[in-house]
Amino acid sequence: MGFVRFLKGCARLVTQGGKAYWAWIAALSVAIGIGTAGYARQFSVGLIATNMRDQITWAFYIGNFTFLVGVAAAAVLLVIPAYVYHWKPIKEVVVLGELLAISAITMCLLFVLVDMGRPDRFLHIVPGLGSPNWPRSLLSWDALVLNVYLAVNLVVAVHVLYSLFMRREYSRKIFVPLVLFSIPLAVGIHTVTAFLYNGMAARPYWNASILAPRFIASAFCSGPAVLLILFQVLRKATGLDIKDEAIWKVAELMAYAMFFNLFLLGAELFKEYYSHTEHLLYTRYYWQGIGGHRALVPFAWASLACSLVAFLLFLIPRTRTNWVTLNLGCILIWAGVYIEKGMGLVVPGMTPDTLGEIYEYTPTSTEWMVATGVFGVGFLVFTVLVKIAVPIMSGAFHVEARPAEGAAAQTLTR
């Protein structure tokens, strides 16, 4: 049956590769091993193995989660030009964006799981088995929309890839509505995550209407960076034809998103510094420190610098079309937004805490190890999915290929 051949072929694709591929897999396995060791320690003594305490209850793990939800949402940045504006150069690579979304959501779910005090009770949030607090709890909404988004992307990606494999047209009836649905859904997952923070009156730093737009802007300007690098890698390593214009257009859209992100940042800073209420304290902690407490200050300014430089690199056509500066921009934008939306959002929101206490948080080695492991898993998932998807997209892996022919075609040069 076609599906069995498909699965067998996938297995073959994943287990065959050149030196670079296996070196990458080995590195990811090491990362996952480190993560497992870290989580084993955390599971045995409890979350006290982290540096989170009552004063700062969300930190590194949830910061990573927030950033990765943005990455997952950003996959949709490809969908809009592809399907709303019918721009062919991007249409061909939309599925890679969906695979990124799947990997990112996987990491999001893992970060939530490692952050929970009682991961053994995760069923409590499942409707029917547990008691999700709809509609009031944003966290239960987040659980729902993230899983729906994951499901939608899985269905679309698998359907497209399998159809290509079977050398038949994918069903527009399934595909187009789901893909179009994924646009508001992507905005939805990130808005729900923003609302999760936004709705907390106890945390003035988060309790700002600007949070949801900022989340969308920073997601769109950072998420696709991984894809831009991936596209270049795939072009060289496989026969996949990805046009320069597709890459440059994505970079251009990211520049506009970054402009909006910086504008919103400016608006936030104006409000805090000009109104100069007691709520300024959280912003000040992040950018200037309070008294001797300055742990985040270097990161705040580094993040801003990275974001500004990346913005300029993507905005100016000459640097956008130069591969060196483009890739530098990708790295810088990921670094900038990773800090700003991860630790830079979560920790200042809780410093000082609700009773005015300043507890300076920095992640422990256990937290670094676990986060490394989660990223390892996410990148492994992405690698495996791309390793399967690319030969399908290039036509090398399809149902009619002879086993030998298929094997030859499926072996990548890298």
């Binding site: 006290i48 009552d54 004063q55």
Partner: protein, 191 residues
């Protein structure tokens, strides 16, 4: 505020006198409360249920000092002077000491009781009436449980404390206490 303050006070006094013994300690758990006199029940406004009888703690006498008439039989020298016995109390006395001394509260004729400004005798178990002459706002708050401490049942029997159970009448200002240890800082908690 309550205009029937004197009547309710009498009710409280009546209730206290109906207690098993004057100077009885707090009701032991499980013991039924003595029945409130009919006057106390009728006193309550608007048909609200009668408050459970409250029991007071004993006046904090020094061991063996009471009854005072063991030594003081009949009236003594009423002139203000330095004392030989009770000098420990007198040296610590700072309760408006400029204008008052012992016999302004302790009854000269009968040292087993105190006296109000008009000369009425007040037993030690009702010393609050004496305090209340000057400290009216505290007294009114204390009577309804807002001032001072109560233990027991919020919806039933309470033990209240006499003013003197917390405030030394001879030196009433609360002495500072040694605080319990500070909480651990978050960075001090590790595994």
């Amino acid at each position: 505020m309550r205009s029937r303050a004197p009547t309710s006070l009498l009710a409280l006094v009546a209730a206290l006198l109906a207690a098993p013994a004057s100077g009885a300690g707090p009701v032991a758990k499980g013991e039924p409360a003595p029945a409130a006199p009919a006057s106390a029940r009728a006193e309550k406004a608007g048909g609200a249920p009668a408050e459970e009888l409250v029991q007071a703690e004993k006046p904090p006498f020094t061991e063996g000092i009471f009854p005072c008439t063991q030594c003081h039989q009949g009236p003594g020298d009423a002139k203000r002077r330095e004392l030989a016995f009770h000098d420990d109390v007198q040296s610590a006395f700072d309760h408006d000491s400029e204008h008052r001394w012992c016999l302004d509260c302790h009854m000269n004729a009968n040292r087993d009781v105190l006296h109000l400004a008009n000369g009425d005798a007040v037993p030690f178990t009702e010393s609050y009436r004496l305090c209340g002459q000057c400290h009216g706002d505290k007294y009114r708050d204390w009577r309804v449980g807002v001032h001072g401490k109560r233990v027991g049942m919020w919806n039933g029997q309470k033990t209240y404390y006499l003013c003197v159970n917390c405030h030394n009448p001879h030196s009433p200002r609360f002495k500072p206490l040694k605080p319990e240890p500070r909480p651990m800082r978050p960075e001090e908690m590790k595994r």
